[in-house]
């Protein structure tokens, strides 16, 4: 008997007395399961929150060896390559909603029987109801809700004490002069441009579906084009804001949270027409039986109500389960209340959009070319 298994045996024997008792009861046995997993995620603070909230607890409880691969920004390309090579090297892959749609459409991801695989809420609500709108397709196990929103510097002299209160401040160079940071992609930018050009939320995608609609959005963006720094990684905007290179910019709300709260930069958040997106797991096709069993067992644990709420202690992204919301509490190390920084907080949701995955899946290519073409002119 090795030292490790001895220790875990002792731990198990002591469990009924210890605080971990609830854990052990939660965790059903896993038959015919592999003893290692390769998880693909985003690296950085997000992956750290996953490790702390459920990967490490799971590894401790089961002795499973978890290896991380920080490749999620090209997840689908990697899954496709592994699948074509006939050797799926990833057990579980963390992707954003649109990528899960891609994986599902391309037959790269397993369809999941949600209520069979995932844990029900403590009050017995089945998982499929508890996740609600976050279940965007039959392959995607949601974890968090994040939003893309704006941050601005709070110390700009030229603004004469005014601060941006709505989204359209981005297009107001008179009142709010200075450089802006926007993502080097058409998605979200076109929607925001049309919203500030007087299109209502309901008509947004009807307008955008025509060539004139895209041109109209680009024409609106044209008005600030010379004042924009285009970013391609979410970490750029907080850095640009901190350096004073830009006075306002879009990025993921968690990135702004760490710039504001953890690094104490003179930056504030603008909650108006933020765009919601989901991030979650997909199970790649082509796993052997033991791997698949292990992954399903892990998913059941990692996406239950308590674990998702725990994750919010480490990063300001909202849990995707309705039943986890009330459990969201204070930051694990800073001790501040997390709710005001959460995209799921009702106070932050006066105007918002939800990423229209279907529309973008169909129109991405055409709109992307038009956008790139516009950018380079």
């Amino acid at each position: 008997m090795t030292l490790k298994s001895l220790l875990s045996a002792t731990a198990l024997a002591m469990l009924p007395l210890g605080a971990g008792a609830a854990f052990a009861e939660d965790l059903p046995p896993c038959d015919n399961c592999s003893d290692s997993m390769v998880l693909m995620s985003w690296g950085g603070a997000y992956q750290a929150s996953q490790v702390a909230a459920y990967a490490e607890p799971y590894a401790k409880l089961t002795g499973v060896k978890i290896t991380w691969d920080e490749g999620s920004n090209e997840a689908i390309a990697k899954m496709r390559a592994a699948s074509e090579a006939g050797n799926m090297t990833y057990s579980l892959v963390d992707v954003e909603g649109p990528d899960s749609q891609r994986a599902c459409d391309e037959g790269l991801a397993e369809e999941i029987d949600f209520d069979k695989v995932l844990a029900a809420a403590p009050d017995g609500t089945p998982a499929s109801k508890d996740f609600g709108a976050a279940m965007i397709n039959e392959c995607f196990v949601p974890q968090i809700v994040f939003s893309t929103t704006f941050g601005y510097r709070t110390d700009v002299k030229e603004w004469n004490g005014k601060v941006p209160e709505d989204l359209c401040a981005i297009f107001d160079l008179q009142t709010f002069p200075g450089m802006r940071a926007l993502e080097k992609r058409p998605k979200k930018n076109l929607e925001w441009a049309l919203l500030c050009d007087g299109v209502s939320k309901d008509e947004l995608y009807t307008v955008l579906s025509t060539k004139e609609g895209v041109d109209r959005a680009l024409a609106k963006l044209d008005t600030i084009k010379d004042h924009v720094v285009w970013w391609s990684a979410g970490a750029e905007t907080p850095q640009l804001l901190a350096d004073g290179e830009v006075v306002m910019g879009s990025t993921y709300n968690g990135r702004l949270f760490s710039a504001i709260v953890e690094q104490k930069q003179p930056i504030a958040m603008l909650w108006d027409w933020e765009v919601f997106d989901f991030d979650g797991w997909v199970v790649p096709k082509g796993l052997d039986e033991a791997q698949k069993n292990r992954v399903m067992h892990f998913l059941n644990f990692a996406t239950d109500t308590q674990r998702l709420a725990d994750q919010a202690k480490y990063i300001s992204y909202g849990p995707a389960r309705a039943s986890s919301q009330p459990l969201v509490s204070k930051h694990a190390t800073l001790g501040i209340e997390m709710a005001p920084f959460m995209p799921t907080n009702p106070a932050n949701q006066k105007n918002y959009l939800v990423n229209n995955i279907e529309w973008w899946a169909d129109n991405q290519d055409a709109v992307e070319v038009a956008f790139q073409n516009w950018l380079s002119k």
Partner: protein, 548 residues
């Protein structure tokens, strides 16, 4: 010449003809040389040439349409896209049969992604219709069930159409709890002969049930296309009702009678598809399927040069969709500019390196090599810090009073940023070949020129410079070819207008997953480099290039 006989060939010492003996020796030598390079050759072939060849092959590969919609492609061959009218009912029915299989195998979404590259909206069209296709022709099945409820039973169909040996094997398999491999469905010859449409549709259904769904065809009522096939088979050949023995006669005869009376509705897939999506009533989606049905396509290459295939032939893309030619040109122009600045900056440095006393030259050489040894990402990120508007360079300029605080220079996130950062990164590739060539130019030539009365400039321009041209040639080729395929530096400092074609290739590989287009763009880039190399060889001559 003692070995030479009067009229025979020259002989070696052992009596064989000299030519033959020489050849043998040479062959052995060649073989030995080949064996020596074989490990490298095999390594390069396996890890480099083969994967790249496979990737580039995707630029013309287009199996997916013919593989996913074989019946539709065959049915469409008779349809004329220029007629301006949508195709006839059989084509709609062929598509329904293809889609039923594709939906079960989930390949219709892949096909949608492929055709969406050519006509955006195709992906949602196929996905939407894929959801509805199961219900198309439902009224025919309902009519059969109304005539006789046995048609609602899955086993009725398997017993009628399956080979009796298979039927019993399947029953045994089912009884054993489905633990072993399912016996693959076999059509009975009687059914095949008398009910051809029904048999064909049911064989597809059974195969999909067994291989894709891992389910038994005895447990699910077959697709509506099977019921439709049965109605039509019996209508066309009423005698078939008697071919299956007396037990089947009443049920089949009832269908024959109903079919002749017209109580069974005729299947109308045209209407069903149009109801699912109005686009199917137009020729547009059909002509896209037809144009892209061959197994090899020029579509990706056309897209890579801003053209597209339409029913009327090759046409330029709309203005807002043209981007690649512009990016190719920009890549060329910026790479040329970078090569130019590298020559201007590298030449004096190389000259110093070659002419200073060894001790100083060595120190200088280390200064040249030091950045060369530093990670590319680190150097690029350092340029970000230096060049940004609140960065070191702008701060210095403002402090020196050369630039006003509110008019700081924009040195990054544009083409200036790309040129500055890439010049720095590629400079060693210019300096090193220049240096090694200059090192071989004897200093006495310059002294001789001056002693004969040449000015400094004449001595340099007429004597020194021509001898250093091979170095410039080698450096330029290196820098230009490296620059043309550069990716990470333009991505980080190029902003919107300073990015290269390789950034688009990376985008299509990693994000949009349009690997065919990425392969086509990559192939074009390779061709451009080869053509430029050829032109260079014609003008400068590759023999004039020296790396040392």
């Amino acid at each position: 010449m003692t070995d030479q006989t009067a009229n025979g060939p020259m002989l070696a010492a052992d009596g064989t003809p000299l030519k033959q003996s020489l050849n043998r020796a040479l062959r052995r030598q060649k073989l030995r040389a080949f064996l020596l390079i074989a490990p490298l050759l095999i390594f390069v072939l396996v890890t480099f040439i083969a994967p790249i060849g496979d990737m580039l092959f995707r630029s013309v590969q287009n199996d997916i349409v013919a593989d996913t919609l074989p019946r539709t492609v065959a049915a469409l061959s008779k349809w004329n896209a220029e007629s301006g009218a949508p195709p006839e009912e059989p084509v709609y029915r062929a598509l329904a049969s293809d889609l039923l299989i594709a939906v079960a195998e989930k390949t219709h979404t892949q096909l949608g992604t492929r055709l969406n590259y050519e006509d955006s909206g195709f992906s949602s069209l196929l996905r939407g219709t894929g959801r509805d296709v199961d219900d198309m022709g439902e009224d025919v099945t309902k009519a059969l069930v109304a005539i006789d409820p046995i048609w609602d039973e899955p086993t009725t169909w398997t017993n009628l159409l399956g080979e009796p040996a298979w039927v019993s094997a399947q029953a045994d398999w089912d009884k054993a709890g489905g633990k072993t491999a399912e016996p693959p469905f076999v059509l009975s010859p009687v059914a095949q002969q008398n009910l051809p449409l029904t048999s064909a549709a049911f064989a597809d259904f059974a195969r999909v049930m067994q291989t894709v769904k891992n389910d038994s065809p005895t447990e699910k009522r077959p697709w509506n296309t099977v019921a439709i096939g049965l109605t039509e088979d019996l209508k066309a050949n009423p005698a078939a009702a008697g071919a299956f023995g007396t037990e089947w006669q009443p049920a089949l005869s009832a269908i024959v009678a109903a079919a002749q009376m017209g109580t069974i509705p005729a299947a109308n897939f045209t209407a069903a598809f149009t109801e699912s999506d109005k686009a199917w009533a137009t020729p547009q989606p059909w002509s896209i399927i037809k144009i892209f049905s061959p197994r090899f396509t020029s579509g990706y290459f056309l897209n890579a040069v801003d053209l597209k295939m339409t029913a009327d032939g090759i046409a330029p893309r709309a203005d807002s969709e043209r981007v690649y030619i512009m990016l190719f040109l920009r890549t060329m122009i910026l790479s040329l500019a970078i090569t130019g600045t590298c020559i201007l900056l590298g030449y004096p440095v190389a000259w110093l390196l070659a002419n200073l006393p060894p001790r100083t030259a060595n120190l200088l050489m280390i200064l040249v090599l030091l950045p060369f040894w530093t990670s590319l990402l680190v150097r690029t990120s350092a340029w970000k810090v230096l060049l940004q508007q609140q960065g070191v360079i702008n701060d210095l300029l403002v402090w020196a009073g050369l630039v006003a605080d509110e008019n700081r220079l924009v040195l990054i996130n544009n083409q200036t940023g790309t040129i500055i950062a890439m010049t720095h990164i590629l400079l060693p590739f210019m300096i090193l070949p220049l240096y090694s060539v200059m090192k071989t130019i004897p200093p006495s030539y310059l002294r001789a020129a001056k002693s004969l009365g040449a000015t400094d400039w004449t001595a340099f321009w007429r004597v020194y410079f021509p001898q250093s041209i091979p170095g410039i040639g080698a450096g330029s080729i290196l820098v230009f070819i490296l620059a043309i395929g550069y990716y990470i530096t333009p991505e980080l400092v190029g902003g919107a207008k300073g990015v290269f074609i390789s950034n688009r290739i990376a985008y299509h590989i990693g994000t949009s997953l349009n690997w065919g287009l990425a392969a086509a763009l990559g192939s074009l880039l390779l061709i451009v480099v080869l053509v430029l190399y050829w032109v260079y060889d014609r003008i400068v001559g590759i023999d004039n290039v020296k790396l040392g």
